[in-house]
C-alpha cells in the first residue's frame, strides 16, 4: 500500500502538483487530530490488501518448487503446503503465469469547500488522500477488484470522514444536507453487490462516511442478555470483546473478519450459526439511525412490539440509502460450553439434499449444516495440506479406499456435508447422534471432525483464492439465492448448466468451474451458493463476459423460483430485478419511504431502488 501511495502521489504531482500540496497540507498540517487519528484510521488499511481480499500477509502463491502454499500466520492453513492444489488448478482451468502491475490514475477530488470548512469547525476527522479514497471506492465484486488490479478505477469518493460517535454522524448528515453533498456510508467494505461503487452520474461531491471509529461496546446488560454497540465495530472485534465477558452474539457471516455491524443491519446479513442464534433481523433489539430527517429509533427495548409495521424493517436492508446506522442493541448469549465439528459423505448430491431436507423437517439442524456438491468436494480436496507422516497418508488412503471401493461411492458423484454442533456437551453429543442417524438413512457416512473443520476453514480462505486465480488468468466469484425445498435440485442443476452453456457461447475456451453448496437450511427452503470461475485466456473483455454469465445465471435462478438474494443484498448489481422481485407496488412503497426520509438524496449511493 505504500507503493500505491507513492505511485498515486507521483502521478498526481505530475498532473496537479498544487492539488497535492493542498492535499498534504489538508491532511497533515491543518488537522492535528486527523493526523493523530490517521494512525489508527489507517490501521486496517495498513494490514489489508488494497486490491484483493483480506489481510496483506495472507495469500496463496505457487512457490519455487511449483507447490501451492498459503502465507501468513492467521489461518489454520497458513504456512502449509497444499500439494494437490496445483493439479486441481491446472486440471480445472489450465494455468499460465502472468502478473500485470497496475498503473493507477486517480482523478483529483471534487471538493465542496464550504462543507469542509463547516466540518473542520465541527471537529470531524477527514481526508482526501487518494489512498484513503480508493480504499473506500469499492467492495469485492469481481469487476471492482479486476479494475483495481488493472489500474482502471472509476469514480472514487472525493473525501473520507471518520465520525467517532453518534453525534458526529448527526453533524455530518446535517452539514451534508446544508451543503448538498452526497454521503456513502462505509463499514467493512466487503460488499459484493456494487453497493459501494460511486454512481458516475453523481455530480456533487461524494463523501465516504467511514464508521470504523465508532467501534465500542457501550454497555452489556446481563439481565436482559443484550449489548449496546456502536455500529462501526467489525465482527471479529465484537465477538472477541464479548468473549472477554463470557458472551457472544453468535452472528458469524463468512465475512466476519472484515464486515461491520452497521453493514450487517444495512444488508440483512445472515450468519452461519443462524440455526441457533438467528439472522441479523432476529438478533437486533434496537437500532438507531441518523437520516436527513433526523434520528429514527424505537422508544423502548421490548422484545417484540405490535406498533404497526416494524420500523426496523425499513432500516434492515436499506443498503445505505436512508441514513447511517450508528448504534445497535443486540442480543447476546453465554459462550457455548462445547463445540464439535463433523462431516458426512453422501453417495450423491440428491441424497445429501434429501438428508438436509429431513433434518430441516425434524427441526434438528445443528448450529451450522452445509452441503457441497461433488465439484466443490474435489476442490476442497485440493486444499488439503501436505500430510505430516507416512502413517497419516496411509490412513487417508485407507479412508478413500473404504468410501469408494468398500461402500461403492463414486468419487465423481459423492458429496460432503459439514456440520458444527454447539451447546453443552451432553446435548451436543445427543444432537450429533440424531443428525448422524438421519444421515445414515440417506446413505451418509460419517467422515470425521477434521473434514468438517476444514470445510469451515475453507469458507474464510476461499476469498483469498480468487486473487491467486487472477494471477493466472482465472476469474470467478460466488453468488447466492434462497429457494423452496421442492425446487432446490432443479435450480442447482439448471443454474450450473446455464453457466457452462453461457461460457461456451461466449467463447470461454476451458470448461468453467460451476459448483454450488447449501449453506443454510430453513423450514421452507434453503440458501444456495454458486461458485463460478473460468480461465479467460483468449477473451478480450473477460469481466464483461463474466458479468453476462452472472446475469444469465441470475435470470435462471429467478426463472427457477429462487430469490434475488438471500443475504448479499441488491446494491446496484441486482437492481434491475427489484420490481420483478417485490412487485411495482412494493417498489413504490420503498420509494416513497426514501422520498420522505431523504428528499435531497443525500444518501445517494443509488442502491436498491
Amino acid at each position: 500500500s505504500k507503493r500505491f501511495l507513492s505511485e498515486g502521489l507521483s502521478v498526481l504531482s505530475q498532473q496537479k502538483s498544487m492539488v497535492v500540496y493542498h492535499l498534504i497540507y489538508f491532511a497533515i498540517g491543518c488537522y492535528e487530530t486527523a493526523y493523530k487519528l490517521g494512525l489508527s484510521l489507517s490501521f486496517r488499511q495498513e494490514i489489508m490488501k488494497w486490491n484483493g481480499w483480506g489481510y496483506s500477509d495472507s495469500r496463496f502463491l505457487f512457490n519455487k518448487k511449483g507447490q501451492a502454499e498459503f502465507t501468513g500466520k492467521r489461518y489454520r492453513l497458513s504456512g502449509l503446503i497444499l500439494p494437490s492444489l496445483k493439479d486441481w488448478f491446472e486440471g480445472t482451468f489450465g494455468a499460465n503465469l502472468q502478473h500485470k502491475s497496475p498503473a493507477t490514475v486517480i482523478a483529483p477530488p471534487n471538493l465542496n469547500e464550504p462543507f469542509i470548512e463547516d466540518l473542520k469547525a465541527a471537529g470531524v476527522a477527514a481526508s482526501h488522500d487518494p489512498e484513503d479514497r480508493v480504499f473506500r471506492a469499492h467492495g469485492h465484486c469481481l469487476h471492482e477488484i479486476f479494475a483495481l488490479r488493472e489500474g482502471r478505477i472509476g469514480r472514487v469518493p472525493d473525501m473520507v470522514v471518520w465520525p467517532s460517535c453518534h453525534s458526529d454522524v448527526e453533524k455530518i448528515v446535517e452539514l451534508a444536507c446544508k451543503h448538498n453533498v452526497c454521503l456513502i456510508p462505509y463499514g467493512g467494505g466487503t460488499s459484493v453487490s456494487s453497493a459501494l461503487e460511486c454512481p458516475h452520474e453523481e455530480t456533487r461531491s461524494i463523501v465516504s462516511l467511514d464508521t470504523s471509529q465508532m467501534n465500542r461496546i457501550l454497555w452489556i446488560d446481563e439481565k436482559n442478555l443484550t449489548a449496546h454497540v456502536e455500529a462501526g465495530i467489525i465482527g471479529q472485534d465484537l465477538e472477541r470483546q464479548l468473549n472477554e465477558h463470557g458472551y457472544c452474539t453468535g452472528h458469524e457471516p463468512d465475512s466476519m473478519e472484515f464486515s461491520s455491524l452497521g453493514g450487517w443491519v444495512a444488508t440483512r446479513a445472515s450468519g452461519m450459526k443462524k440455526n441457533i442464534y438467528g439472522n441479523i433481523e432476529d438478533l437486533v433489539v434496537h437500532i438507531k439511525m441518523v437520516t436527513p430527517r433526523g434520528v429514527i429509533e424505537k422508544s423502548c427495548l421490548g422484545p417484540r412490539m405490535s406498533t404497526g409495521p416494524d420500523i426496523h424493517h425499513f432500516i434492515l436492508g436499506s443498503e445505505g440509502t436512508l441514513g447511517v446506522v450508528t448504534e445497535v442493541t443486540m442480543k447476546i448469549r453465554p459462550i457455548p460450553e462445547y463445540q464439535k465439528y463433523g462431516s458426512v459423505v453422501f453417495p450423491n448430491f440428491q441424497q445429501g439434499v434429501a438428508c438436509l431436507r429431513e433434518v430441516a423437517r425434524q427441526r434438528c439442524a445443528p448450529a451450522s449444516i452445509r452441503l457441497m456438491d461433488n465439484e466443490q468436494f474435489q476442490f476442497g480436496h485440493a486444499l488439503k495440506p501436505q500430510v505430516s507422516s507416512i502413517f497419516m497418508s496411509f490412513l487417508d488412503g485407507l479412508k478413500k479406499f473404504y468410501i469408494t471401493k468398500f461402500k461403492g461411492f463414486d468419487p465423481h458423484h459423492l458429496c460432503v456435508a459439514t456440520l458444527l454442533f454447539e451447546g453443552d456437551r451432553g446435548k451436543v453429543l445427543q444432537h450429533e447422534k440424531q443428525v448422524y442417524d438421519i444421515a445414515a438413512k440417506f446413505g451418509g457416512l460419517a467422515a470425521g471432525e477434521d473434514n468438517g473443520q476444514r470445510g469451515y476453514m475453507l469458507t474464510f480462505v476461499i476469498a483469498y483464492l480468487r486473487d491467486l486465480g487472477m494471477d493466472y488468468y482465472v476469474i470467478g466469484e460466488s453468488f447466492e439465492t434462497s429457494v423452496p425445498w421442492d425446487r432446490v435440485l432443479d435450480l442447482c442443476r439448471n443454474v450450473k448448466e446455464r453457466i457452462v452453456r453461457e461460457c461456451k457461447e461466449r467463447g470461454v475456451q476451458f470448461p468453467p468451474l460451476s459448483t454450488c453448496r447449501f449453506t443454510q437450511t430453513y423450514d421452507a427452503g434453503a440458501c444456495v451458493y454458486f461458485y463460478f470461475a473460468f480461465n479467460y485466456r483468449g477473451l478480450s473483455d473477460p469481466v464483461h463476459v463474466y458479468e453476462q454469465v452472472e446475469h444469465a445465471a441470475r435470470e435462471e435462478i429467478l426463472a427457477n423460483g429462487g430469490s434475488l438474494s438471500h443475504h448479499h443484498g441488491v446494491g446496484k448489481l441486482r437492481k434491475e430485478w427489484m420490481k420483478e422481485s417485490v412487485s411495482g407496488v412494493g417498489l413504490g412503497m420503498l420509494k416513497s419511504v426514501k422520498e420522505y426520509v431523504d428528499p435531497q438524496n443525500i444518501f445517494g449511493n443509488r442502491n436498491l431502488l
Partner: protein, 668 residues
C-alpha cells in the same frame, strides 16, 4: 441457435440441405436375420435415470401430481381415493407401452422384407441422424414426424434401431388398440395409446400427462408424437394440435429439465400406400375400421411399386431457445409444481406459434418428386396435355419451384422428358396416355353399368388422389399464390389494397394451409420478395406492378389455389341457398357433398375437389371463425346458424365481385 434458424428470414436458394443415403442398399446386400439380431447399443441421454417399464407405472401412480388429482377427483365425485386410484391404474394399463427389444427385432426382420418389396429406396439424411445422436445425449428428445401414412411410425422405430439410437415411445390413437394382436405388437414396440377425446376427464389427463412427463424427465426414451394429431388424408399439413406439445414443454417451463430438444422429421413418399383409400374417405365412402383382417387384405399392397421414401431429420429445436423472451418461467414460482396449471394466454400463444413453426419446418424439409409438379399441371389441365408440352411446362415449373425454395429431388443428368415419363409410369393407375396425350382418368373402372353419380365419384377419386400430390408442393407456392390472387381481385395496384386482399385470403384459408397466426406481414413480404426475384413483379413504395413477362407465372399461381377458392364458394352458395333453420353439424358434410355433386352433374361446376370433406370441414371452420356461421347447441345436437348476409358477401369477395375493403371485413 435453433431459434435463430427458426425465425430467420428465409433465403430459399441459399439453404443447403443434407444429402441422403439409401438404407435399403445395405439391407439388399446382407442378411436381414443377422441385422435383426445384431448387437444394439444405443447412445443414451447423459442424465438418464435408469428404470424399467414396470417401474415407470409405479413412479407415475406415486407422483405428487397424480396423487393430488386423485384426491381432488375423489372429493369432487364422492368416490373413495382407493377407487379413483384403481381407476387411474386401469387407465395407465390401457395406455402404457411395454417396449421390448425382441419385438423390435421381430419388426426389424419383417419390415426389412416388407420395405424391400414396397420401396425402391428409403433415403435418410445421415447428417440429421448425427445431429440427433448428439441431441439425444444432451437433453431429452421429442421426435415430431409428419404423418401421412401408417408406415410413418414403424419406419421411425426401424430407422432409430438401424442407427443405434434409443427407440422412441410413440403416442398413438386408441383406434389401433382395437386391432387385436397388432395393437399389442405395437405396444411392445413402444406405442402407447391415447383416447381420441377425453375433454373434461381430469383423471385421464393427469395420468396421461404425468406418464409422458415422467418418461421425458427421466430420459426414459425419446417421445414421439404427431403434431398434426392424425394422418393427413390430403398430404397437406394439418393445423397442429398443442396439447401434447404443452405436456412435453412443461417440464422445461417448470424448471424440471434444463432443456428439451424437439426434432421435426419430414417423411415423404413418392407414392402413398393409402392413396386411393384416402380419396375414398374424403368422398365419404366409409373407411373400414382398423382391423387385423383388413391389414391382411392390404397385402395386395405389397405387390406394387411405391417408388422411394424419404426421411429427413431436421435440426433439433431447443425449447429453451424457442421460449427465450416469450415465456416468463417465473409465473410457475407461486404454485407447487404438482398442482396442474392451465397454460396462460401467453403460453397458449407461444405453443401455437411454436407448433406452426415446427410444422413449417416439416413442410420445408419434405422431399418433393418430379411427379408432384406433373400432378399440379395435370390438375390445371383437366383435358390433358401433350407429352411434349407437359415436359416443357414441367421444366418451367421445376425452375419456379426451385426458385421458391422447394426441396425437389430431381434426378441428375436426365432429360426432362425422361424424368416425366418415369414419373408417369409409376403413377400410371391415375392416368390415361394415348397418342402422346396424357390425361387424368379412371383406369380400372369396373365394366358394369355405372350411374352418372358413380362416374363422378370414380373421377373424383382420381382427382383427389392426384391432388394429394399437388398438395405436397402447395406450401412452396402458397404465399406467392395468395399474392397473385389478391392482385387479381384488387381493383388497384396500390400496395395497401393488395395487402388487404392478401390478408383477407390468408384469413379465409388459415384452416386450409399452414399460415402462422400473426405472420401476415412477414408472409406478404416473403411473397413479394419471391415474385420480385423471379421478375414477375415490381414492388415500389406504394404500388405493386406486374412486369410484362409476369403474366404466365401469376396465372399459374392463382390457378394453383383455384380449386380451394371454388370449393369455398360452393360451400358459401350452399349455405345461402340450401340451408334451413335446422342444419345440424352432422348433416353439414353430406349435405354440402350432395349439393356439389348436383352442381357437377348439372355441368355448373367442374371442380371435383369441392367434394372433399376435408375442404368442406375447413371451410366451415373458417366461416365459424369469421363469424359468418354460428354453432348453437340445442339439446345434444349442434346446429349451425348461418348469417346469410355475411356469407353472401364472403362469396362475392371470393368470387372477385367485390374488392376487399376494410369496411366489409369489419362487417364480417
Amino acid at each position: 441457435m435453433a431459434s435463430r434458424a427458426l425465425y430467420s428470414p428465409r433465403h430459399p436458394m441459399l439453404k443447403k440441405r443434407d444429402d441422403f443415403e439409401d438404407i435399403l442398399e445395405e439391407r439388399r446386400r446382407s442378411s436381414d436375420l443377422r441385422y435383426a439380431l445384431r448387437c444394439y447399443t444405443p447412445t443414451l441421454y447423459r442424465g438418464l435415470v435408469p428404470c424399467k417399464a414396470s417401474m415407470l407405472k409405479s413412479i407415475v401412480l406415486q407422483s405428487d401430481h397424480l396423487q393430488y388429482v386423485i384426491k381432488q377427483v375423489s372429493s369432487e365425485s364422492g368416490e373413495s381415493t382407493e377407487g379413483v386410484s384403481e381407476e387411474a391404474s386401469l387407465i395407465l394399463d390401457e395406455m402404457a407401452h411395454c417396449l421390448q427389444l425382441s419385438t423390435i427385432r421381430f419388426f426389424a426382420f419383417t419390415l426389412s422384407k416388407a420395405f424391400k418389396r414396397l420401396f425402391r429406396s428409403v433415403c435418410v439424411n445421415e447428417e440429421g441422424i448425427q445431429r440427433l445422436q448428439q441431441a439425444v445425449q444432451e437433453h431429452p428428445v421429442v421426435l415430431l414426424p409428419s404423418h401421412r401414412s401408417y408406415m410413418d411410425f414403424l419406419m421411425m422405430s426401424y430407422l432409430l434401431y438401424t442407427y443405434d439410437l434409443p427407440l422412441p415411445v410413440i403416442a398413438a390413437g386408441m383406434d389401433f388398440m382395437s386391432m387385436k394382436f397388432v395393437g399389442e405388437m405395437l405396444r411392445m414396440s413402444g406405442a402407447f395409446f391415447i383416447r381420441r377425446s377425453f375433454g373434461g376427464d381430469k383423471l385421464y389427463w393427469a395420468v396421461f400427462s404425468e406418464y409422458v412427463k415422467t418418461m421425458l424427465r427421466n430420459g426414459y426414451a425419446p417421445i414421439e408424437f404427431f403434431l398434426e394429431g392424425t394422418r393427413s388424408r390430403t398430404c397437406k399439413s394439418l393445423t397442429p394440435k398443442t396439447g401434447l406439445l404443452n405436456i412435453v414443454m412443461e417440464p422445461f417451463f417448470k424448471g424440471e429439465l434444463f432443456d428439451v430438444n424437439l426434432v421435426p422429421v419430414s417423411i415423404s413418399y413418392e407414392r402413398i400406400l393409402e392413396e386411393s383409400l384416402y380419396a375414398r374417405e374424403l368422398l365419404g365412402i366409409p373407411k373400414p375400421k382398423e382391423s387385423t383382417s383388413g391389414l391382411l387384405k392390404a397385402r395386395r399392397v405389397l405387390s406394387e411399386d411405391y417408388g422411394s421414401m424419404y426421411v429427413y431429420f431436421g435440426h433439433p429445436v431447443s425449447v429453451r431457445s424457442l421460449a427465450e423472451g416469450k415465456i416468463n418461467r417465473s409465473q410457475y414460482n407461486l404454485l407447487p409444481r404438482y398442482i396442474p396449471q392451465k397454460p396462460s394466454a401467453d403460453t397458449h400463444e407461444f405453443l401455437s406459434d411454436a407448433a406452426f413453426r415446427l410444422v413449417r419446418i416439416q413442410e420445408e424439409n419434405m422431399v418433393l418428386k418430379p411427379w408432384v409438379l406433373i400432378a399440379t399441371l395435370l390438375l390445371q389441365n383437366p383435358d390433358g396435355l401433350d407429352l411434349s408440352s407437359l415436359a416443357e411446362q414441367t421444366d418451367w415449373l421445376r425452375h419456379l419451384a426451385l426458385a421458391f425454395g422447394a426441396f425437389l429431388d430431381w434426378p441428375d443428368h436426365e432429360a426432362c422428358s425422361e424424368v416425366v415419363s418415369c414419373s408417369l409410369a409409376l403413377h400410371r393407375h391415375l392416368l390415361s396416355v394415348s397418342a402422346g396425350h396424357v390425361q387424368l382418368s379412371v383406369t380400372d373402372v369396373p365394366q358394369v353399368e355405372t350411374t352418372p353419380e358413380e362416374a363422378v365419384f370414380h373421377q373424383a377419386v382420381v382427382v383427389l388422389s392426384c391432388a394429394s400430390y399437388r398438395n405436397q408442393i402447395l406450401h412452396v407456392f402458397l404465399r406467392p399464390a395468395l399474392l397473385a390472387m389478391a392482385m387479381q381481385s384488387a381493383n388497384s395496384n396500390r400496395k395497401d389494397d393488395v395487402y388487404n386482399g392478401f390478408n383477407f385470403l390468408r384469413k379465409v384459408f388459415s384452416n386450409e394451409f399452414i399460415l402462422c397466426p400473426g405472420d401476415s406481414v412477414q408472409d406478404f413480404e416473403e411473397a413479394c420478395y419471391l415474385l420480385m426475384k423471379r421478375g414477375v413483379l415490381q414492388v415500389l413504395e406504394h404500388e405493386i406492378v406486374m412486369s410484362a413477362s409476369g403474366h404466365s407465372t401469376l396465372a399459374f399461381l392463382s390457378s394453383v389455389l383455384d380449386p380451394f377458392l371454388q370449393g369455398y364458394q360452393v360451400v358459401c352458395r350452399y349455405l345461402c341457398e340450401e340451408t334451413n333453420e335446422n342444419l345440424t353439424e352432422k348433416e353439414f358434410i353430406p349435405a354440402v357433398r350432395s349439393f356439389a355433386l348436383k352442381l357437377i352433374l348439372a355441368g355448373r361446376l367442374k371442380c371435383y375437389e369441392a367434394l372433399s370433406s376435408d375442404l368442406q370441414k375447413n371451410a366451415l371452420a373458417a366461416f365459424l371463425r369469421l363469424k359468418a356461421v354460428r354453432k348453437v347447441k340445442v339439446g345434444d345436437q349442434v346446429t349451425l346458424k348461418v348469417n346469410k348476409v355475411a356469407v353472401n358477401s364472403l362469396e362475392d369477395i371470393l368470387g372477385g365481385k367485390i374488392p376487399t375493403q376494410k369496411p366489409i371485413l369489419a362487417r364480417l
